[in-house]
């Protein structure tokens, strides 16, 4: 599995350019509609929680239109967001319905929720940057290069977390599965069963009868038809050798016919 991380975006550049070329060209750099909305919202240069959602909706719709005009294949979630924003915008512009309270969120609530999500993503993005700006071990700050001894270790019982435990479990189970792979052996009609079956039929086999008619019919969970035929043929040949049966085949690959041998057959059966 390849981890195709998207290259970092230069947001300030996009913001300076307002909503134009920069954003459109960078479509591939965005991680979905919320990401685009954040970039647009940053361009408004206001507290993200006090953002004008109608303006944001317009900008986003323009962005999507432009992107489509340039024949970018737009993912469905971009279009879903566009449709939802168009709807939200229209609701924000309409006069408020007299009574709410039927559980449905007001347009203002929806707008607030969207602004919150954008502000939250923004906060997390800044947090990620702030973390990277910390003095990072072995990048900015360095521990003792030559500790005197592994003897002075912190008393943590040992390391290892659930993930490690799970990995260990799966790793060995997987190895075991590989080692123990055993394809199920097919169910076959046993030769002695086939013999028994033929012996029972023998008295009735006074005329040449096709092997396919002699072989036992397939039962639900039983051996396959091919196995029944093969075992019956093998058993039949044994009986031929013992003189209880005759077999013949007129053309290669055609049906085999069996017939009981009069006197000797009955003798053998008895």
């Amino acid at each position: 599995m390849s981890l195709a991380f998207q290259s970092a975006l230069e947001f300030s550049a996009a913001a300076d350019a307002g909503l134009d070329e920069a954003l459109i060209v960078d479509l591939d750099g965005f991680e979905g509609p919320l990401d685009v909305l954040l970039a647009l919202a940053r361009a408004q240069k206001v507290d993200l929680l006090k953002l004008s959602v109608t303006r944001l909706a317009e900008q986003y719709l323009a962005f999507v239109r432009e992107a489509r005009r340039r024949r970018f294949a737009l993912a469905a979630d971009y279009l879903v967001m566009a449709a939802w924003l168009a709807y939200l915008k229209s609701r924000l512009l309409l006069p408020k319905p007299a009574a709410g309270g039927d559980g449905e969120l007001t347009a203002e609530d929806e707008a607030g929720r969207l602004a919150f999500r954008i502000a939250k993503l923004d906060a997390m993005r800044r947090a990620a940057e702030a973390l990277e700006a910390r003095p990072i071990l072995r990048r900015d700050v360095f521990p003792r290069g030559d500790p005197e001894a592994a003897r002075i270790v912190s008393r943590r019982p040992f390391e290892g977390d659930l993930y490690e435990l799970m990995s260990a479990y799966v790793a060995q189970r997987r190895r075991r599965e590989e080692r123990l792979y055993r394809p199920p052996s097919p169910v076959t009609l046993r030769l002695d069963e086939a013999r028994e079956h033929l012996r029972e039929l023998l008295p009735a086999l006074t005329r040449w009868t096709a092997l396919s008619g002699v072989a036992p019919a397939r039962r639900a969970e039983g051996p396959s038809r091919a196995s029944c035929l093969a075992s019956t043929l093998a058993a039949g040949l044994e009986l031929v050798r013992e003189g209880a049966l005759e077999a013949r085949q007129l053309v290669a690959f055609e049906e085999v016919y069996l017939r009981g041998r009069k006197a000797s057959g009955h003798k053998a059966a008895a």
């Binding site: 991380f5 998207q6 919150f116 993503l121 702030a130 973390l131 071990l137």
Partner: protein
């Protein structure tokens, strides 16, 4: 009779210097003569090293000596170019750090994308993130949090020292859903809803869930 402060300070200095990794106050106390005032010695030592080429810092509730940040430019030979996390991984790590305990679905919701499976797994593998428990909500999803290695890597004494966390909390930005009518209530994390799992009864139910989910 407890040993004099300067003697303890010397010992703490020597131990921290020799140690291969950060030591907690308890680790130190264990190796020092009975009655040694570890906290006091640490404070004195921290003051003594302030502004020097080597400094005493607290990471993940443990103490370590490390080179001063502004001298990083000298350390060309010691620097190991760490595997840089991609943007998605950095964001995911930040979300886990600031929202823990947090579920996979919540991370995705904040990022606004169906996360690449590998992102969180990469962090798990690097030991920066760990599984913490299960959320008491339908499906009982696993929750994630950060590790001590995370704190040590970023030189943080504790999660309370996450940059900007207090401000974000005050602004209500760390709650998972829109705070009621923008009346931001700091500290409205999901902690309360995490499952301490005392009930024995859940034992069996859980396995059934685990099996049935495939």
């Amino acid at each position: 009779m407890s040993p004099p402060v300067f003697a303890v300070e010397r010992m703490v200095e020597a131990l921290l210097f020799a140690a291969a990794e950060p030591l907690s106050a308890a680790d130190l106390a264990e190796r020092l003569p009975a009655g040694a005032e570890v906290a006091q010695a640490l404070a004195a030592l921290k003051a003594r090293y302030a502004g020097r080429g080597v400094e005493l810092v607290c990471v993940a509730d443990r103490w370590r000596l490390q080179t001063a940040e502004d001298l990083a430019f000298l350390m060309t030979q010691e620097r190991v170019e760490p595997r840089r996390l991609g943007r998605a991984a950095r964001e995911t790590l930040a979300i886990v750090a600031y929202h823990q305990p947090v579920t996979r679905a919540e991370i995705d919701a904040i990022r606004g994308v169906q996360a690449n499976r590998g992102t969180l797994d990469q962090l798990l593998e690097l030991g920066l993130v760990r599984m913490r428990g299960r959320r008491r909500s339908p499906g009982r999803p696993v929750t994630f949090g950060t590790t001590d290695a995370f704190l040590e890597h970023y030189g943080l004494a504790s999660l309370a020292d996450l940059p900007g966390a207090a401000e974000m909390k005050a602004a209500g930005l760390l709650s998972l859903d829109l705070p009621e009518g923008f009346e931001f209530t700091p500290g409205a994390g999901a902690e309360a809803e995490e499952d301490p799992l005392e009930e024995e009864a859940e034992f069996h139910v859980d396995y059934l869930e685990g099996e049935g989910e495939e």
